[in-house]
Each structure stands twice: as C-alpha cells, then as structure tokens.
Subunit: 168 residues, 2 copies
DNA sequence: TGACATTAAATGTATGTACATAAATTTGCA
DNA sequence: TGCAAATTTATGTACATACATTTAATGTCA
C-alpha cells in the first residue's frame, strides 16, 4: 500500500517488491496505486531533468505555451486555460519567470484589466537549449513498444470514461 | 499538450478531445501525458472525497500506517519509510494530525531522539467512518474489467523497468 | 573520558496546489 | 449618466513537496 518512491526511482522493479504492507486487496487496488505511483515516478524524473536549467515543470510548461503564442502575447487567462491543472496559480508562476527575465509582463493596452505576457529572447534560448539537450526524450516511455503504448492509452481513456464525479 | 483538468473531471472524455494544442507528437507522448493526467484525475477525485472528513490524502495515508502499527507506536522514520514519497515531510503532516487530536506524540523512552506516534481512538473512529462510507471504493477503477486491470498493471510495471535515472 | 561522527526529528526556504477573496477595469442596462 | 454585474488579475491562507540546515541524543573509538 505504501511505497518508497526514491528507492524505486533509482532501482526500478515491480511494484509488489516495494510494498511494505504485504499484499494488495485485489488487482484493482494494485492498479490504482500503480497508476499514481508511475505518474509520480515520471514526474520526478522530469523534475530532476529540468533542475539543471533552473526551471520547475509548471514553469517549463508555461514557457512552452508562451512560445506557442510568440510573437503574440498571452494573458493569464489563456495560460490557465492551457495548463494541465486549471486551478493552479498562473500569476505566481509567471512571477518567478519574470524574476528570471524569461518573460515580460505589460498591461494590455486594449483592455487594462488584462496583462500581456511574452516570452523573452532568453526564454526562447533556454527552451531551445533544453530541447537540444534531449531532456524531453529522456523521460519518454521507452520501455513500451507501439502496440503497448496504444493499449495503455486505451486503458487510461477508459478509466476516465462514463461517470461523473460523485457528490458534486 | 495542455489539458483542462476540472473540465475533464466533470465531463470525462477521450484525452484528445480536451487538447488545446492540436495533436500529440506521437502515441508515446500521448501516453505520457495521459498517464500524468489520469493520475491527477484519480487524486483529485480522492481529495474531494476526503474533504468532508477534514483530511488530506497524505494525512489519511499516515493515519492508515499508524492503524497498521496500532497499538504499537510508529516513529517519524517509519512513517517516512512507508509513505509514497520518501522526501515529503512527515513531521509537519503529523503536526496537523496532532492538532486535530487524531494522533499523539510522546518522546520514546528507549531512545530520546525518537518520537512515538500513536493513533488515538478518535483517529481510529474517523478511519472506520471513512471506510464504512465507501469513500475508498468510490475512486476505484470501475470502468475496467479484470483482464484490463491486469494488462494495465503489466504495462505500468514495464514502464518503470530496466533503466536507471539518467544523470544521478 | 572526551572529541567526533551518526542518527532522529524539527525547522527554514522556495515552490506549487487548492480555494477564497480583493482590487481594478470594463460592460451593460435602467 | 450612473450604478451594479461581470471580467481579469493579484493576493491571502492552508497545505504539501523538495531540499538544506539545525538541534538534540546517542554511538564510537582513540
């Protein structure tokens, strides 16, 4: 039930082998934990890969959204709309990118409530360097072949299909 | 590439249908995002389910570890060892459980560096109530059948197999 | 014994998430 | 026109993660 993440990160093995509580109730429970655990594993690998560049994952993602817009600006509302998690706080992530001179913030002249956010030359250069170093490829699912990846996508889509959030 | 979590939470659909950037580079990239995304989806469902009980997920997990030890105490070191993420801060999560009178902290008489942490009667009662209300089952992978769940476990195990963390 | 290393927990700092609220601007309509 | 509602961003609080450092107690060994 409870797993030591860093141990597995360094010495990958089947999830049973790291479980302290003896067994899972059933394969469903195992899959549930396995899913959360594998996602953490991927995220930690990514975070470690980005660390040498002084970026966190959310900061990297926002930079990429901004590059997608470049040379047009993005507003905070656009960033929120495109981020993985809608409720996270784009304003403060942009604060940190601004401190590092990777983005600029200017009041939108057409609508003074809004803020135009633009990636800087330094921001573009940093993204390019990260991509040229192959940081993204390092965290790919290289252990799976094409058929397996398609299977996985089907299963994950199915998990989220056909039901509503209970009690809301 | 970037997905609106809360929309999907309320209206599950295939992951392509929520993507703002037009397409994935390939099925591998899609599976990567799909995995992170589905795990967030499960976690958010769980967090929402625990909210009425005034617990966060890490707090709930630590309570369960403590019940597993009960009536013996656990040390902070034992909690860290059994938690999903070894580097998270068990001390401060125990702080919050202690404020809610769900656990007690006493200096270990045999080793005054260590702290004995025990679940209280109120803590045990809360766990029982949560489980009787079926909160755990609500977040199961009910959309999959037995064969699919086994397939999923195999694929997830395979993702983490056979390589080391690059550059560490 | 006493100096030094080791261990266990707590604390500090930076970041991010989740959620509520505030502040400024714009919109819309009586 | 003028005032309420809506929009856009920023801020505040609580909690958690990640990582470094501190504090206290114990262990080791010359």
């Amino acid at each position: 039930m409870y797993i030591n993440l860093h141990l597995i990160l360094l010495h990958p093995m089947r999830i049973e082998d790291e479980i302290k509580q003896p067994i899972f109730r059933d394969d469903f429970q195992k899959a549930h934990i396995n899913l959360l655990f594998t996602a953490s594993w991927l995220q930690l690998r990514q975070a470690v890969a980005f660390k040498p560049y002084g970026l966190t994952l959310p900061q990297f993602n926002i930079l990429r959204i901004l590059r997608g817009q470049h040379p047009l600006p993005a507003t905070v509302a656009l960033l929120i709309d495109r981020m993985l998690d809608k409720t996270s706080n784009a304003s403060r992530i942009v604060d940190r990118l601004e401190e590092k001179k990777l983005v600029t913030r200017t009041v939108c002249p057409a609508n003074r409530r809004a803020v135009d956010i633009r990636i800087t030359v330094a921001g573009l250069a940093l993204l390019e360097r990260i991509e040229q170093d192959g940081v993204l490829n390092a965290s790919d699912l290289t252990q799976l072949n094409d058929a397996e990846v398609q299977q996985l996508n089907g299963l994950l889509d199915k998990i989220r299909s056909g039901d509503e959030l209970p009690g809301r």
